[in-house]
Symmetry: D5
Subunit: 108 residues, 10 copies
């Protein structure tokens, strides 16, 4: 299992046809919700005042994350930034609960 | 209730006394874990390969977040970056579960 | 109550229809003035020589701020930058006047 | 009258003598509060999670602003960023109340 | 009196109609020269190899500077960067000659 | 299996004791070579003219990569930048040879 | 022989004709695979979540690298960033295997 | 004759001996005023709120400018940024007055 | 005589008419070669993998450099970055050979 | 043969012993001049107003360039930026004179 922090900034061109835009956005929502239900798209938050989200993915591998992102209906209109995550040494939750690695060094 | 995304990058000077450093790091861990248990420091992840964390806070107000961060034992040695979060329109969880606002616009 | 500092930089495409542009700008002015009268959009200043403003919002929550910004008539043509604010320890005004938190640390 | 938006980021070296530091910070607070009472330092807010403030000055001239900033007790330890402000065309307050210029163009 | 340092970078879209472009540039020249004759646009230099200028304005207030810049015929096609200036403590000219403030601290 | 592209920029303080420095650098070399022999540190190149390297790691998980990097003898003196990699759709090598994912989209 | 690290970020305009786009991408794949078979394009990896690749070229000279890159079918739509590489002093492989230079200084 | 726009940002280390600092600053002032009297350092302004100046030099050549800057008493503690200037096509002053070149293209 | 280092990055819009583009590029080559023969455009190199060049100009003045650059057939499609050069104190060539200034300080 | 454009910015710490500093700078000058005489360090210019140089190297390989730079007496105190160069299609000199590659594409 692998955790990734992903920020997506949406940049849809102003001259995109409104119907096409609405369809893509609807497919994006459906795609995201299916992955949320599967447990792979574990968190999604809107950044206040931005057409952007912060998400956390819990996938089998970086390869699987790539397949998911590459097929986002809005992929062509996004800037995506990825940070691989691991368990923090100060995290109070039992390690097996999310990444399976032994507790690393503590401190912020 | 208010959600904030916080990135903390730790920059401890190389010439800090090792004992002092160990004490500060230990106090930081204790401080963080108390806030995690209270539910206010909801998530903490280590960024792979970095002396940095990504955290999500669930606090009563931005004022409370400031009090928490300002009193971090490592505060003087950190660069902190904050993003206010809100519910994403595609989030499958019921709204009342985390922010209490009505569902906003969907799409990534 | 929550205070937010917001900078808005307007980037209207040169080829937007002039009538459409005039309508959006007029709606933006009306929208802003209604929120100013309600007390939520507490300050708005023009940055000299820029098609940009600096604003201070006094809202119930970050969620409410998001609703306000997301519905700005010019939202699609703006870059928005947000900083959460809190009371400064050197502020001479009584705390209850604006944020309700106890006085924090002093110094610039 | 002239309005200026000023952001001050404080960078006190870690090895500054604690007594000297406390004295400078105390003088800074006193200096700031005297200017707030005179009406010249009109607003001061703490940025959440940062050793930084956002201030608005209402001075006779840029020359006076320079005298004020140059003599800040913490001046040598600050990064200062300045934006001249003017009345926004959508501001609902009567013009004479703060800058005296005629209402400029509206829109965000 | 107030001195401002202004850098203007011109970014005219490649597809602007050549006649319209020529008219705007001619109006810009006329506008600039009238302000130079009035003494308000005190200096204008071309940056070598750039479609950019460095200018110094000597105006009654930041408000007046804003009125001047906002009405530049090329305003919509410019990026503008402003620095407020004051007398330098090493300047050999008598203070009354340009800003009227007392001589400030010396040194570069 | 997971592939990661890692850039390491070394910033050893000028005043570090030369013997201590030599010891750390020797331990770093030994540590790197053991991981190269295990197959986990698959590539290491020096960037011409820089005290920096470009490396490719082939590890079981991002968690394992973190353990490896966090324990580098030079970790405290490095800036590290990480990119997760996956198979390129134009790669001529059989997929099973390195990542095990099905061939993704082609094109650069 | 000379080794170069190349990052290519693809930025195809949204309004490019889909057939033309498909043809260019197909020619790019063919061009890349011929060079991979010749041994000159030694590695190509996809960056997870990005329309970008990381490649390593093993060519006779920088001149030859330029000829290869300049003739990429997608060249007009790419941002390319190049780092010359050399053997790392900690690399466990025999020097003659890839660059032919004597082993340089060790350490990361 | 050649005109250069120079911005100097002064960064004196906090631990420099105060007497040494005062001596260097005094020599800097003397050096600057001699060059102002010679006509080579034509303008010097303080940037409001910054330990920085904007200057204009009128020298025989870039070589002479280098000699002047390299010998500034504060040179070791400055960041210097240089822009070569030429006559602007909209400048109302006769060309011979300052650079001697024929009037170039007009427009901002 | 004055030496200038110039970097030119070419950004021709994708939708420029191919014939017009070919004509401009041909005129650019002719213009450049005439200036090379005159001795004013002393060096021109292609940056590997970039539609960019590094050039060195040897002109009478910055004014002349501006005239040359402003009239480049590709000027409207270029980003240009300029550094004035002078003789290096370690240069082994006799000073009169290129800039005429006395040897300055040595060291890199 | 391979051409490389190298920019070196010197950042000697203020507290380096003056004698040690003078020795390193003298060794640097000697080292540079020997390489200039060998023809490998083909050009060296001082950037006006900066403790920086622009150099062009003509070496057998990137590996040789690395050996040269890594052994610069000032290496530990420099930031170095490298661009590989190739013949420009508009260069009027015969190709064999400097890189030996066939003439590439013309245009700036």
């Amino acid at each position: 299992m692998a955790l990734f922090h992903v920020r997506m900034d949406v940049r849809i061109p102003h001259d995109l046809d409104p119907d096409q835009r609405a369809q893509i956005v609807a497919r994006e929502k459906d795609y995201s919700q299916r992955l949320q239900r599967s447990g792979k798209w574990r968190h999604i938050w809107r950044i206040v005042g931005q057409y952007s989200n912060i998400s956390v993915f819990d996938v089998d591998s970086a390869d699987e994350l790539h397949e998911i992102l590459w097929n986002l209906p809005l992929f062509a209109y996004m800037e995506i930034d990825i940070l691989p995550l691991t368990r923090h040494g100060s995290d109070i939750r039992a390690q097996t609960e999310h990444t399976g690695v032994s507790a690393g060094p503590a401190g912020a």
